[in-house]
Structures are given as C-alpha cells and as structure tokens.
C-alpha cells in the first residue's frame, strides 16, 4: 500500500514537471504580457525597463530556471499583473471554488443516486420515464446556457413577479462570508447558501444526470443477480436488500465517476464561475490567460494537477475499502 502511494506520488511529480514546462513555453510563445499591461503612451525606454524588471528580457531557458527556483521556494514568482506571489493569489481563490465544487458534487450524488435507484427499481413507472428523460436533458444542455436560463428565471423573472418573489435567488457573486480558520466561507450564512444554490446546481447538473443513468443501469443489473434473489427469499426487509446488497454492489462505478468528476468540476468550473461571477479559481484562470499572467496560470495548473492526482489516489484507496477483491499495488494473488 505504502509503496503504491509513493509510486503514484512520484508519477504525479513527473506529470507536474512536464506540464509546467509545456505551459511555460506555450504562454511564452503567445506573446509578451508587457504589451498588454503597459500604458500605450509609455516610450520604448520605459517598455524596456518594465520588461527588464519582470525578467522577460532573459532567454527562455533562463526564465525557466528562475521560475523553477521560485517554484521550489513555494511562491511561483510574482504575478505580472498583481505584483503579489502567484501561489498566494491562487490559494486565496481556492475556498470559493472548493465550496462550489463540493456542494455541486454533493447535489449530483445525493439527488442523482436516489433518483437513479428509483428509476432502476420501477423502470416502467411514469415517474421513472420522466427522470430518464430529464437526465438526457441534463446531459445535453450546455451548462452556460442552463446557468443563464436559471438566472433569467430565479434572478430576473421571479424577482420581478408580484407573488413569487420570495422564491427568487441572487444571480451572481458569493454572498455573505464568515471567516473560519483563516478562510472565507459562505456555507455558514443563509445569504451564502442562497448564492450557492444556482451555480452549484448548474455545475452539478450534468453529473447528476450521469449518476442517474449509472445508478439505474447498475440497479437493473444487480437486481437480477442470485444474491439479491436469495436475500429476498431469506425474507430480508426490502430496505436492507436495496440499501446494503444492491447499493454496495453498484458503488464502484459511482465512486470512480465521482472522484474524476470532483476533479473536473474544480478544474472546469470556469464557465459556471464566469456566468455567475463566482470569485473562484476558474475566473482567475480566464483573466490570467487573457493578460498572459504566466506565474498565475502555471501556479493554477500546478494546483489543479496536484488536486487531481490526490483525488485519483483517494479513489483507488476507496476501491479497496468498498471491494476487498481489489488489491492495491497490482500484485495479484
């Protein structure tokens, strides 16, 4: 187990090194951020001075070495735009994105799986057909569009309607936050929750749909297995049959998907964050790419890659907990 984890972490380190090099060179090739940052009225001399101050006059390999040195020091260099350590700027944004991602994953799981079980147990009921049709929509609607529609419905239409305005929800931003252990969290305030609902639903919708379909397929398959028939024949209550025997056996694919999904939700919350003006990492990434703020882009990607690696590791460990037949380390008996 330990050897497995160490090997995975080493692989991850390699991935991070390669990725940082690629991103570094890629952004270097796009252009020089100074031309976007500096006032158009600045003279050539002033431009040269700024380029020198930001270290952009060095050859590429030297710039990379400087960057590696700073990365090892933990700061990843100073942001070209903000003039503050890049990692600090990225980490400031983590709580907002983490809240959004975790809550949307929570929604995807705790709404998606029960609906999927229902649809799997009663495949021919009208409600099940409705759920399945809904899940297809959830899959296929692009999430920026869903976001805009939700804003129109809850933020504009309901707010302006005479009788239903109590149902309206704020359309943007993060709402009131409370500082807890040095991070700003909005999940402790009602206002924060009201702000969180729409973006989390938007972000979680397609995974919710995925979970519904996965669970339904799993349930339908497992229900036909002998051990379920046997459990029923034994006279076990239906709740136990489904809650233990069925659920446990359909969990593997759901855990895999949820692990991957949490990673992608964090990495690709970009669109949702932009539509809802959610102050998370995704919005920072877009702004930083536009202004070619290389230190911030690299720091962001390193954070996300690191996160994905950890999540995958957790998923692998969870497998062995859920299903004892799976052993870590690839050594089979």
């Amino acid at each position: 187990m330990l050897a497995f984890i160490i090997r995975r972490l080493l692989q991850a380190a390699l991935v991070i090194v390669i990725m940082s090099g690629l991103v570094f060179v890629g952004i270097y090739l796009i252009g020089n951020p100074v031309y976007i940052l500096i006032s158009p009225e600045a003279s050539e001399l002033e431009r040269a001075q700024v380029i020198h101050n930001l270290g952009l006059d060095l050859p590429l390999w030297q710039q990379y070495l400087v960057f590696v040195e700073q990365a090892l020091g933990g700061s990843f260099g100073k942001s070209f735009v903000f003039g503050e350590p890049a990692m600090k700027i990225v980490l400031e944004r983590v709580p907002a994105t983490a809240e959004l991602a975790l809550f949307s994953t929570f929604l995807a799981l705790f709404v998606g799986v029960p609906l999927g079980i229902w649809a799997g147990l009663k495949p021919n009921a009208i409600s099940s057909r409705g759920i399945m049709a809904g899940s297809i929509l959830g899959f296929s609607l692009p999430n920026f569009w869903v976001g805009l529609m939700l804003i129109m419905l809850f933020g504009v239409w309901l707010r302006n309607s005479e009788w239903l305005s109590f149902l309206s929800l704020p359309a943007s931003g993060r709402g009131e936050t409370v500082t807890f252990l040095g991070t700003r969290l909005s999940i402790f305030t009602i206002d924060g929750w009201r702000h969180l609902l729409l973006p989390a639903f938007t972000l979680g919708l397609s995974y919710m749909a995925l979970n519904i379909r996965l669970t339904r397929a799993g349930v339908r398959e497992v229900l036909l297995q002998d051990y379920v028939k046997f459990a029923r024949a034994k006279g076990l209550p239906e709740r136990r049959v489904i809650g233990v025997h069925v659920l446990k056996n359909i969990l593997i694919p759901i855990v895999t998907v949820t692990g991957l999904e949490l990673g992608t939700v964090i990495a690709f919350a970009v669109v949702t964050e932009t539509v809802f003006a959610w102050p998370g990492m995704g919005k920072l990434l877009i702004d930083s790419i536009v202004s070619l703020d290389r230190p911030v882009v690299v720091a962001y990607l390193m954070t996300v890659v690191g996160l994905l690696v950890v999540l995958n590791l957790v998923v692998d460990v969870l497998y062995s907990v859920i299903d004892p037949r799976i052993r870590l380390g690839g050594r089979s008996e």
């Binding site: 252009g31 940052l37 503050e84 932009t274």
Partner: protein, 528 residues
Amino acid sequence: MMIRKLAAIAALATGLMVGLAAAVGAQELKIGLKTEPSSLDPFYHNLGPNLQMSAHMFDQLVAQDDNQKLIPALALSWKPISDTEWEFKLRKGVKFSDGSDFTADDVVFSVDRVAKVPNSPSPFTLYTKAIKEIKIVDPYTIIMVTAFPHPLLPNDLGSIYIMSKKAASGSAPEGKTTEQLNKGDGLVGTGPYKFVEWVRGDHLTLEANPNWWRGKAKWKKVTFRTFTDNGARVAAILSGDVDVIESPPTADLPKLRENPKVSVSQGLSNRVIYIALDSFAEPSVGIPDTSGKNPLKDKRVRQALSMAIDREAIVKRIMQNLGVAAGDLLPQPMFGSRADAKVQKYDPAAAKKLLADAGYPNGFTITLGTPNDRYINDSDVAQAVAAMWTRIGVKTNVDSIKSTVFFKNRDEYKYSAYLAGWGAGTGEMSSPLRSLVATQNKDKGMGVTNRGRYSNKAMDAKLEDALRTVDDKKREALLQDASRLVINDYGILPLHYEVTPWATKKGLTYKPRVDQNTLAENVVAGGK
C-alpha cells in the same frame, strides 16, 4: 384585540421605515464593473480600472472634469513662473480620511513614491519623469522644477493621486508596499470615499469619507463587483443585484432601453477609432500584387481609401449609434481639436478616379488587421471597411484576432493597414499626435504607437514646438496646425469617436465622462 392593534402599528411603522429608507435615496450603491482593478496602490499599475478606483479614494493636485478640462483640486491654482518652474498654491483645510491635515509634505512624498514602487507593469513615472525637484516654499505653496519646458505638467498631474505621508510611510523604500495597500493598510486619501474591504475577485467596499473637503459624498456605501462576462453583467442589472453597470454590450442596448426598470446613459469619449496605413515599408507585407511597390506611400491612394469609407453608415448600422463619425483625432471641444475638422465625405466614384490617377485603375489587394475584443464592435467595423474598400477595387481581407496577438503583430510591423483606437489620457491633442503619427524617435519618446511609420517633418516641427510652448493659447494653435497637416495628408484615417454607454436602475442616471471612467459620484438620482 390589543395585540391586533399593536401588530397593525408595528406593520405601519415598518412600512414607514421602508418608505423612509427609499426616500433618503438608496444609501448604498452597487456598481458592476467589467474589469477589476489589479491593485489599490495608486502608483502600481497605470490602467483605466485602477485609475478610476483611485479617483474614489484620492485626489490629484489638478483634476479633470467630465470633459477632461483641468480644474483645481488639491491645488487651488497653478501657474508657470518660468519655462521650467511651476508654482502650485495648495488648498488649505483639507483633511485626509483619517483626520490628519493635507500639506506640501504629502505632495512631495507621493511624487517621490511613484518611481519607487517595484515591479510595476505600467509605471506612473510616465507622468513624473519631467519633474526634477519640488521646492516647498511654505506648507501650502510648492514649486515644481521640470528638467525641460513641459507645458503638460498640469495634465500629467491628473494621474498622480496624493497619498498621506503619515499613513503610507513604512519600512520599505516605497513606504507601504503594494501588498499592504491592497489590504487597505496605509490607503488613506482625501477623496469622497474611504476603503472598507477588498476581497479580490468578489467585491470591493468603500464608505463615505466624513472628512471630504468638497462636502458630503453622494452615497453612504459603495460596493463594486466585477462581471467580466457581458451576459452576467447584463443579468446583474436586470435582476437588481447591482444598480449601475459599465459597458453594457451593444447588442443588448435596444433591449435595455425598452426595459421599464433600466435606463441607459451615454456620452462621447476621448477615444478615436482609426485606421493606420503602412507608409514606410516597400514592399508592404499585406499587399502582394503591386510588383513590390507600396501604393500607400501615395497620398492619392490614402485619400481614396478614406473617401471610400461611409463613416455615417458604420456609426448608424454597426455601432448602433455608439459612435460619432470623426474628422480628427480628438472630438470638439477638447483642447487642440478644430472646429474646421470635417468628416471625410463618402464618395466612392471620386475614390475610384483617384486610384486610377495614382496608377491603380484595377486596385490592389490588401490585408486589414484588427483586434476582435478590444474596442466596441472592432472586428465588425473592420469587416465593413473591407467591404467598402473592395467596392472601389481594393480587394481587402480582414485579419481579425485577439488583442494579445494583435498588439504583438502590430508592433512587429506585420500589417499594411490596421484598425485600432486611441484614448487621449491627457485629454488634449498632443497625446494622439505624439503617439500615433509623430515620426518614430526612441530617444524623444515619439511615435511609440505609430506602427504605420508615417512621417511628416512639417507636422513633427509643429508638434515639438507645441510641446515646448507653455502658453496655452499658442500651444493650442500649434496643435491644431499639426493635426490639420496630418489629416489633410491622410496620414491616418480617423473613423469615429466611441460613445460610452452605462446602464442604471430606473431612477438613477450616469453623468458620462469622456475618459470613460465609472465613478460613484457621477451616479445621480433622477432622469428619464
């Protein structure tokens, strides 16, 4: 019975209170910005969003009004006492938001600090480099000595916000560092508002400065939030999440105008959209079929290209009237603009004839470069110009690309013709002239953005003369002459001045500014 009565009274009282709150005029103003400032340090990044935020918390010696006319702020008056010496009389009785007095020491401290801020991506030294020394005559009189005659000193000081020496001093060479100021530490000014809180990416809160020397600020509390996405910004004003948004997208304007809950305010800006032509390279990169010649060096060809553009149609159809056709580089009545600058008449027949006279009866092929995310409908305007040029026989391809790449290409002379814009930071004519059309000269800082490499010796002489002339009247006449020389030589083709829109909640109006800044003090109650 009693209880019911009490409840009724309570309900009435609550109703009254709600009514009162509305009557006092929403005490809190929420503004939706397009771009967040990169820092709150007033000398870190010379960039529109930062300058407009500084304007809320600080004052300059010499301010610029809504039309960028110079007006007294912390300096009551200023006058040149020789070619290189300016005397400023400072306003007495001005207090910083922390209650301390404003004196000459604060001016010296602030101007000194400008050059000391490290890692600035766009330094403010641009505005202070002419200042050689500041002599304090008494706490309310200073003399600024410039290294050379510099008539634009008062204009330049419009970008230098005065910080409190007491609050912003610190152990670093620059006093309080940019990082500290971003947290509000040392962020003390004399402006209408003072800092409360900034959560980067989320919101920035200010409250009225009780010590403001001009009187009472219009709003008790101002919250800024940033919506980079156009759709999100529009949704924010429609849903009432914010009271004002800047730059609502043109496509949504008709809808916003019809909406009974929203009003749209708009005003002319100092930004001219122009086309620059390569008048240097031979052959020119974007013109493949003239056997190595650069037709744009011929004035007749440049004139033909200008005559072929129907500016009124562009303003009306593509800009949705968010523009005014331009015949100069700066609109009237700004300093150095001319009453006689007429918009080029649209005349494709005459343009064709000029082309034939110049030896191109069948026209030629050219590529027109344009950014597609920088100016209002930039790429659409370029497409329209291309169609109009093609109509007179100049087959035009449009190379439309993100501004990050566009500016790089432009600076590497990869365009024979390009569309771009220029906002006159100083609010007067020397700004566009020296950057866009003056002959390139690194040492003098001339022609920095003149990437068509246009050169006109007569114009250069007039402009250099103007930049040495401290007398306002004489200088204005020289600038007018200079701009006339360029425009009549078709050295650059102005298209239109941008009109800046703002959308506000019904019952509020935005008093537009030519520098396109969004200021809480310009949001006023009333209006249609």
